[in-house]
């Protein structure tokens, strides 16, 4: 067990060092091709995180595009005080949250304009567009989507980073710019809200 953790830590350290090599290469060569290894390494993580936060596949695709575009153009501003992956997750979380809020505002304005009570449906398990359904339609996927929908953006973010992305408390704290204590407290609050929807699967 302890040996396994040491092994994980070593792999993590290697991945971090490799990230920095790729970053240097992009800064040196300044071409999209030099950026591709970083893109390939993180594209699914970024997309998945964006999808879990927004609950919308097309919105998640836009967020993923915007995140990599921003990271490519601002790589020179990455100051290496945090891991590259933490920086990337932070940008992703902010972009995804921003996308959800923008959509809420647009819907609010739309409702105000036409007087309709549009469906909120943020993390609704929409018919054929969710990644789960693309692979396998399951009751669990729907329950998870429903449970995530019940969480506020703050709680949803820590749940996604912890359980879907497997980040440690310290990494989540780095991503959201809060203390480890705040991360734990948000997770505890999230558990209470997740429990009713997921209890039968646990």
């Amino acid at each position: 067990m302890a040996l396994g953790r040491q092994h994980d830590a070593a792999n993590e350290g290697n991945a971090e060092a490799e990230d920095l090599v790729y970053v240097e290469r992009v800064l040196r060569e300044g071409t999209p091709e030099a950026f591709r290894p970083l893109y390939e390494r993180y594209k699914d993580k970024v997309y998945s995180t964006a999808y879990r936060i927004t609950g919308d596949a097309s919105l998640a695709e836009d967020v993923t595009h915007d995140v990599f575009l921003l990271v490519y153009e601002r790589l020179g501003q990455f100051r290496r005080r945090s891991r590259f992956s933490s920086w990337l997750y932070r940008v992703t979380v902010n972009r995804a949250t921003d996308a959800v809020r923008r959509r809420r505002r647009e819907r609010w304005l739309f409702r105000a304009r036409v007087g309709e009570d549009a469906e909120e449906g943020e993390v609704a398990a929409t018919a054929e567009r969710t990644p789960e359904r693309a692979v396998e339609a399951t009751e669990l996927a729907e329950a998870v989507a429903g449970a995530l929908k019940e969480l506020s953006l703050k709680l949803r973010t820590v749940v996604v980073l912890r359980y879907f992305e497997g980040l440690r408390y310290e990494e989540i704290a780095e991503v959201i710019g809060r203390s480890v204590g705040t991360v734990k407290s948000r997770l505890s609050r999230a558990h209470e809200k997740l429990w009713p929807g997921l209890e039968k699967f646990l």
Partner: protein
């Protein structure tokens, strides 16, 4: 419940959720995304974005000026101000930010946008500030919320 029991319960719930959710299939980024990205990284797309940023800065400045005039007149308004983060943070402003109206409005909106940075000073992109002034009179308070660079 004693603190140790709470902590133990939290850890047990975490393990069960890890088992349940950790095994779920991760969504895969769409295949055509790299092509879309390289297109966006091309010189024409970059020039178009840069031009759009300048337009946004201009519009943001004009809206801020208009806001101060309209706010002074009272009434009900929504203002959207887009500002580009251009330098290191001069201080973190955690929204919602309440600023006194109307004299401080023009002075506060753009600095708020600029100050809403990542705490480490690494810029995260454009900051959109939605500025709501609802039925207030000179001397009343104004609520400013931020779209990005917000307080997590």
């Amino acid at each position: 419940m004693p603190v140790e029991n709470e902590e133990r319960e939290r850890q047990e719930t975490e393990k069960r959720l890890e088992g349940l959710l950790g095994g779920m299939i991760r969504g895969r980024a769409p295949d055509g995304l790299w092509d879309r990205l390289t297109e966006s990284l091309g010189p024409e797309a970059r020039a178009a974005r840069e031009s759009a940023r300048w337009r946004q800065r201009l519009v943001g400045g004009l809206v801020a000026m208009a806001a101060s005039v309209l706010v002074a007149a009272g009434g009900w308004y929504w203002f959207v101000v887009a500002g580009q983060v251009t330098g290191p943070a001069v201080g973190t402003v955690a929204p919602p930010v309440v600023t006194p109206a109307p004299s401080a409005v023009a002075a506060q909106v753009i600095p708020t946008a600029v100050a809403l940075l990542d705490r480490e000073g690494e810029t995260l992109g454009q900051v959109h500030v939605v500025y709501e002034a609802s039925n207030f009179l000179p001397g009343e308070m104004v609520l400013v919320t931020a779209g990005e660079g917000y307080d997590n």
